[in-house]
Symmetry: D2
């Protein structure tokens, strides 16, 4: 665990499943908005680099904590670390098992342990992480849990049962939890990312509407085939700050000009 | 048509279906963010009062234009007025036919003309309004159309076929339009409001997250049974300013603590 | 109206929207199973040919009755004819407005009256026909209403708003009616036909399972790209004879080997 | 493994997850239609009683084979037995982990191992069983796999994450498999049972329509609150014998007069 904090931390956001794209952008956004952020993933070396980078940019503390979401002991230990920082007000669960290759796999070639691991990372890990933070949220009557889904959360895809089964299960979890915990003041939402996220464009994703609409007019058709992770992170933030009289349970996100597949 | 403007208006938002709750809050939000807003509904007297009120509060111009969404001629004439103000960058379609009474109606007691009118207001009106503004949006390669749905947009309800058929059709329209027009840079989204909207709480729905989370801790469980229209309007605004690399097509909104029905 | 009956008819099935494919196959199946069948469509000449043909094949009475589902008066008059035959135990609603051409239409080129008519044929006509037969079904505590949907009933398609809005609305109607009338013993189901129906293969679609499985082994992959209307009609029949303790509200049907579209 | 067969078996149906209600009725139906049936469950004693009973009633062979769907070795061994009988043409997967009690469980009280086991039985077991039979089906270009879902397959329920996550995952599996294997002639369907199944009513669930419609008229409203497993099994059979030009991927079943819950 890498700490750059000194004074007592109060408002903690834990981002589980942080790679170079979405997780990093979400972490940066919450740091930027004043949260003490813990980022968690399996590769501590890479994670520490992200933490340093965000900490430097935002002049704030960022904690890098190793987690293996397929190991219950690792989840427990990681959250001992997270919870020691203070009240975890926000949990973002982003982790899933990357398929071994980009192409679909013949169903009969999928190894049982690979299928099980994918299900475990997508859904059992989410279950377990949620259990670590919910008691504190219930006690304080507030908190936000955001789960990351994909197009495979809604519809099965040939050759993608590993991904889809885990993501369907995660969606179920988000619905069950919102039914149970929203009356306790805990906002639980499922974000369906229906597209490919690229590197941040380095733009001002949080730019004001007037800037945006000015530049929109000059954007040539054909751009926006891939998604800017900073733009996606902006929606995660907006979900978190929604007023509790009007909460979203499920939202989709896709590029304006998605590629056509056959 | 009531005008309080003098200089040339540029950024127009048209809000169709404006009553004392959601429509009014959306209008106020877009005025507050710098848009020239036209509000449209059947009752011009009430509408003018809303326009005056918002114009006074926000020190801005608001146009009240009569529309009967069940009459094609009225739609055309109303949008001649709207389009004369300038480029309509935003259309919010909020109109639907109020059921004659609160209780479900026996199916065999529903009058054919009542069913037809409900379908017309919910979906034909939306079709027609969208046709008025889309050519301009396509020409400029930008624009936002937001359609308002409800829980009856997703699932049939006994005794509510008038509402549900129209709202299902509206959801279809929003999906067809987004498939066709998002590659042209036009954002089309469907907002499912799954709850009862009350009067604005007069609070700062656009308050910063830090204020909000501070006060959340003291909110007693049991509140947030009804929805604050200002909070809902905030989500409409956020949809409008989403980056075009990560657009939402469908989002739901409900109170954290919805009433239980049998 | 063309009558080939002499004795008192008792078990009536009315099939609305009968062309050379699905409607005709459903009609033939119900005739084959002993029902007195009325077939209804706009083109009485073609309809009468179908009625003659089925009557000859099945040695039974078939009634051809003209209906224009976009005209309320035509619906009422047609059902006066149908109801004069006796208790209408089964209604199949199959009618929809054929799009003017096979290719998707630019949204801004769709005429308002064309959109309205499509919505009317798909959903208002279904509403009106259901109203004609439901009082008799409620009185007797039994009956079946089957609505025909398509892939456009579930998801919007670019350039197909006329079809999709009507078919979404029809799906809503089927759900509302089943919520209200299933406790009265009336079975209401929605059949989603997700594929292209071809001409009947002239095979024994109702062949026993043993015959079927014997021949299956020799069927080359690549067949079954289009759907056999007799096979589809078989599922309509099975829905009708489902035991009331286990009723289907929605079912999909597609060929085993659907064509791939881009 | 208990064998009552002597001659060479050819057409095998394997029913996994057989208790006194649905599994038993499905087994009996397939035996009645001429299949050699293997029934599989954890409790071999009870299973053998069912096998004896059906074998006696139908004068046919029924195999009882122990399986623990949460143990990969048990699944493999059980299917060695099943596959030794001949080509498995039909697989019905019915198994799920009964929740420890009828009432919903507080999320934070659910044990991690209990959640994992439920997910394993509902979905990993289904994955594994499907892998055992699919190579043979692909080789012969035919076969049917039917998965049993429930209302928790479509929508999360407060306090039911164990059930819902597993059942959502199972639904994903059924969709992925149908996308991949239907073009190979293998029919894969998901049956959503949205209601409580009771004991068989002992009626003729396969009675002809004329008998059924005669008796329907006298059925008092208020019956059909629970589902007859023989009636449900009838739909499983009908799915199996569907023509391959018109296959169902998903179907729901519920009693005509379901109980109202708050």
């Amino acid at each position: 665990m890498k700490s750059m904090a000194s004074s007592a931390p109060q408002r903690i956001a834990a981002i589980v499943g942080v790679g170079p794209k979405l997780g990093r952008s979400i972490a940066r956004k919450f740091v930027h908005e004043g949260y003490t952020v813990a980022i968690l993933a399996r590769d501590l070396g890479r994670l520490s680099k992200f933490a340093d980078e965000i900490a430097r940019e935002e002049k704030a503390q960022v904690f890098a904590i190793r987690i293996d979401c397929s190991e219950s002991r690792s989840v427990r230990e990681a959250f001992e670390g997270v919870l020691s920082l203070g009240f975890v007000e926000v949990l973002v669960y982003n982790a899933y098992q990357q398929p071994p290759n980009w192409h679909p796999t013949n169903f009969t070639d999928i190894r049982l342990d690979s299928f099980e691991k994918s299900l475990t990372v997508s859904s059992v890990g989410a279950f377990h992480c949620a259990q670590q933070v919910l008691p504190g949220m219930v006690e304080r009557g507030r908190g936000t849990i955001l789960f990351t889904g994909c197009s495979g959360s809604l519809k099965g895809i040939a050759g993608r049962s590993e991904l889809c089964c885990g993501k369907f299960a995660l969606r179920a979890l988000s619905q069950c939890l919102s039914m149970e915990f929203q009356p306790h003041g805990i906002h639980i939402a499922h974000v369906i990312i229906d597209g490919v996220i690229g590197p941040p464009r380095g733009g001002q994703s949080s730019s004001s509407a007037s800037q945006r609409t000015t530049t929109l007019g000059t954007t040539p058709i054909g751009v926006d085939v891939i998604m800017d992770p900073d733009a996606v992170a902006q929606t995660y933030w907006q979900l978190h700050v929604q007023d509790r009289s009007a909460w979203t349970q499920e939202i989709d996100l896709r590029p304006s000009n998605p590629p056509k597949f056959c």
